[in-house]
């Protein structure tokens, strides 16, 4: 499965709903989308990973790169993920402590 990216704006945040596999082949598409949004002045991003089937370290790197981009503009990046197999990857790499990871869009948007 390829990568799908759907973007919408809600409550002052830009939500990117990601579907499919984020790997060495598809991660550049996510990187380009984040770069495009930040370039447009969207500094508060919510990455919804509920429909992500696969994530490797290339994908993690793109997320870290995105976090740095928004923080450079005093922005934020929140992740939505409650799949254990993906959460395990964040824990193993120590990134569970770096990202704000929420269980739902409602939770992610509720945090102030």
């Amino acid at each position: 499965m390829d990568l799908s990216l759907e973007t919408r704006h809600e409550d002052g945040h830009t939500i990117i709903e990601v579907g499919g596999e984020i790997d060495v082949y598809t991660a550049p598409k996510l990187r380009d989308k984040i770069t495009e949004l930040v370039g447009n002045g969207d500094y508060h991003l919510v990455i919804d990973m509920e429909k992500v089937d696969f994530l490797d370290s290339t994908g993690l790197g793109v997320l870290v790169g995105g976090l740095k981009k928004v923080r450079a503009h005093d922005g934020s990046m929140r992740l939505i993920c409650n799949q254990e197999r993906l959460l395990k990857i964040f824990r193993i790499t120590g990134l569970a402590k770096v990202f704000a990871i929420h269980g739902s869009q409602a939770d992610a948007l509720a945090e102030r």
Binding site: D23, Y25, F54, D56, T58, G61, V64, R85, V98
Partner: protein
């Protein structure tokens, strides 16, 4: 799926060009080989992730392959353990200085965290990532 321990050695070797688009194919093969040993889908997922990760590190991101050429070879064997070796000639992306995209993510951290038995051997001919898991 085999019932109980593997009764014969199963060996599968896949050779791919250093094209990131092909790493997914290797993951699919790795999952199929893992399913020959167990019905535990968590285990299958672990193998799929680890083999895909190792392969991705040796393939490198698109346009960042430097002087590295030649295929990436993935050998999977069901013996006393499930053993996987991923080999490529030349330098590998994972040993290059971190680009902005992977800054903050140590390239080997995921593999080292996932696998108890994981090794990297670099010689004049290239780099081999070796990993193994007990059969379930």
């Amino acid at each position: 799926m085999l019932s109980g321990p593997a009764r014969t050695t199963t060996a599968v070797t896949v050779s791919i060009a250093r094209d990131p688009a092909l790493v997914r194919t290797v993951r699919l093969v790795a999952a199929a080989v893992a399913r020959r040993t167990t019905g535990d889908e968590d285990f299958v997922e672990e193998i799929r992730l680890a083999v895909g990760e190792a392969c991705a590190l040796l393939v490198g991101p698109d346009g960042d392959r430097g002087a590295s050429t030649g295929p990436v070879l993935v050998n999977m064997r069901i013996e006393d353990r499930l053993r996987v070796a991923v080999r490529a000639a030349g330098s590998v992306a994972g040993q290059d200085p971190p680009s902005s995209d992977i800054d903050g993510v140590e390239p080997w951290a995921l593999l080292r965290g996932l696998i108890d038995d994981f090794g990297i051997v670099t010689d004049a001919d290239g780099t081999t990532l070796s990993m193994s898991w007990p059969l379930r």
